[in-house]
Amino acid sequence: MAKPAPWDEGPNGLPPVQGEPILLSATGTIAPNTGGAIPTLALANPDKRPMLMDELRFQVALTGLPIGGIIGCELKLGEIPLTGGFVPLWCFGKAENPLQEYFQATGTLDKGVCEYVWRLSRPLFIPGNMALVPKFSSFPYIGKAVSVKVSFVGRQLPPMSTPRIIELPYVAAYTSKQFLLDGSVQTDSSSEDQLLNQFPVPLQIERFVGRYMHLNPSGIGADGSVGLMDEIFDPGVAGVKAGLGIFDTILGVRMTNSLGDPVVRLNTPFRHVFDALTRSWEIPHEMAPLSYYKVYLTTGSPTIAGYSTTQYGIAQVSMVGYREFDTKGAA
């Protein structure tokens, strides 16, 4: 069982739960197939007061139907990494209702929006003189500019010195190659530096998140269609949101740790490991310093009717947790 948050008890020189609510938001446009930053000044506390951040919200919008797997976010607190490189926006938190992650208005507006929320189990302390800086990268799938909005939701505290020990969230992710949806057996695996605890201290892992999307390059057109969908939308018949996740055999996953010990022992249907509702495997545990997890993916039958040999499936797996950080030391 997770120990109570230190903010609830008031150790480490911090006051017990208190503060005034604050929400800081910034928007930017990320050019296709490249990276970009958004105005970070908007994300710093205007009074340079310390803050406790409780959740992050990401919003992606473009003409057509967007998806959280096309944009990656790298987070740093000052120079301290909170992510292992760029992490797909829908891989930070668990889904609370995948059916409600998407909104689309058609007609003259024809705008699609999707939103993902990462609720931190341990609030992040942001010193008054620091800011949480997000950078974004557009993965090379759709070749379109994407509008991104990020919001930090939390509380601002009275002026105070930084506690000696704070807890920092951490997320790292692996994105698979593009699997051809032709029913053939194909494999891919993560590398040792992707789901890695790069720190000399243990990581408290809370969950693994598993997402899967369908890419149809010929569906990318000037009419706004992006040819990329969450599994839940495609290829279900009209009015039925079922999707590729129904097929136990279309994507299997196996996992090991850096010692080769089994984590997911046998090749297991993707949606068995990563629950269909939450898209996550909730499994709190401690991850040793400088260790990693390795993900092995295998595709198989059935052949998806009408997909021929030009459409693809892409899986993304992340690990989400936190670590203790000594603000006076180097860890």
């Binding site: 018949v237 079922a242 999707g243 996740g245 297991t268 249907p269 909730e282």
Partner: protein, 307 residues
């Protein structure tokens, strides 16, 4: 304590009226380490001619054991959808048409009331059975369903010292007969058959409804479902007569919180009335029979040596 996540799974193929045991070696830690299991997931996958959502969570039932200790009990196997609270009705049963074939997938996840310690070398036995006439397809006698079970938890470090006692989750169910207007549980359906108290977390009530055009699912319509009465061993009311089934077992979670202790030998008694729904308003399905199940979920302490 340094632990390693572990996810184990096995599958069997089930025809109506058959029974199959999952391969026990698939559900054991390959290097014989102690494990702590946090959740158990079930899924069913099949294809047939039914072109709409159908949930056969009542028809496929499971018996689970850890060595000699029963995790399920009672008079029958426990239906897949009776192990815990329903999280999402929308995603519990999904289907799609692909290449002119209908594919169906029903899933259920049981988050255990307390993590289950599985000592090294102890066998996790899981058996699945499927009732006859579950109406999966028009010719359901020839339609096989792939049933899969998964155990999710952590492997404990080598050298972990086993405690003397441990928490064992427990589920037993009353599965009502498929005929008649009334149904009554017997005293061993929802009974604490152990010689020590059992903490009861909740009761789950599911109401399978067989559609005249084929397929089955939960019934959600308030006011036309059967009534249910629940008594304890002393004959005192827990749920008084004439309570509508979906009032007692909330449509969102299918559950009734209990949070009390069942002493050794005590049980809950279930009486169901109005299954035939003769006064119902379900159009063409109004003469169909409903199949209620009520399950009891809790946990109790057992000595490790009894595994």
């Amino acid at each position: 304590m340094k632990t390693t996540p572990i996810f184990l799974q096995s599958s069997v193929s089930l025809l109506p009226g058959t029974l199959a045991q999952f391969a026990a070696q698939d559900l054991q830690h390959p290097f014989n380490q102690h494990m702590l299991i946090r959740s158990i997931q079930f899924s069913l996958l099949w294809s047939d001619a039914i072109g709409f959502i159908t949930n056969i969570g009542n028809s496929v039932r499971f018996q689970l054991r850890l060595g000699r200790i029963g995790i399920t009990g009672g008079n029958s196997y426990v239906p897949m959808w009776s192990f815990g609270k329903e999280i999402s009705n929308l995603l519990e049963a999904i289907w799609l048409t692909q290449g002119g074939v209908q594919y169906h997938r029903d899933t259920f996840t049981w988050v255990l009331p307390r993590p289950l310690l599985v000592p090294a070398y102890s066998a996790q036995i899981a058996v699945a059975t499927r009732t006859s006439g579950d109406s999966v397809a028009t010719a359901d006698a020839t339609t096989a369903v792939t049933a899969r079970i998964s155990y999710s938890g952590v492997a404990l470090p080598k050298g972990f010292r086993l405690p003397d006692t441990f928490d064992v989750p427990y589920v037993s169910a009353f599965c009502d007969a498929t005929t008649g207007n009334t149904g009554h549980s017997n005293e061993i359906d929802l009974k604490n058959g152990f010689d020590h108290p059992m903490k009861i977390q909740r009761l789950i009530g599911r109401l399978q409804y067989k559609l005249s055009e084929g397929g089955t699912r939960d019934i959600d319509y308030l006011g036309i479902e059967p009534t249910v009465q629940i008594l304890d061993s002393r004959g005192d009311y827990i749920v008084n007569p004439h309570a509508q089934f979906n009032e007692v077992f909330d449509v969102l979670g299918r559950d009734m919180p209990v949070r009390s202790v069942l002493e050794p030998g005590q049980n809950f008694a279930i009486d169901i009335n109005g299954k035939l729904n003769s006064g119902g308003t379900l159009a063409s399905d109004s003469d169909s029979v409903m199949f209620p199940t009520v399950s009891m979920i809790g946990h109790h302490q057992m000595p490790v040596r009894e595994i």
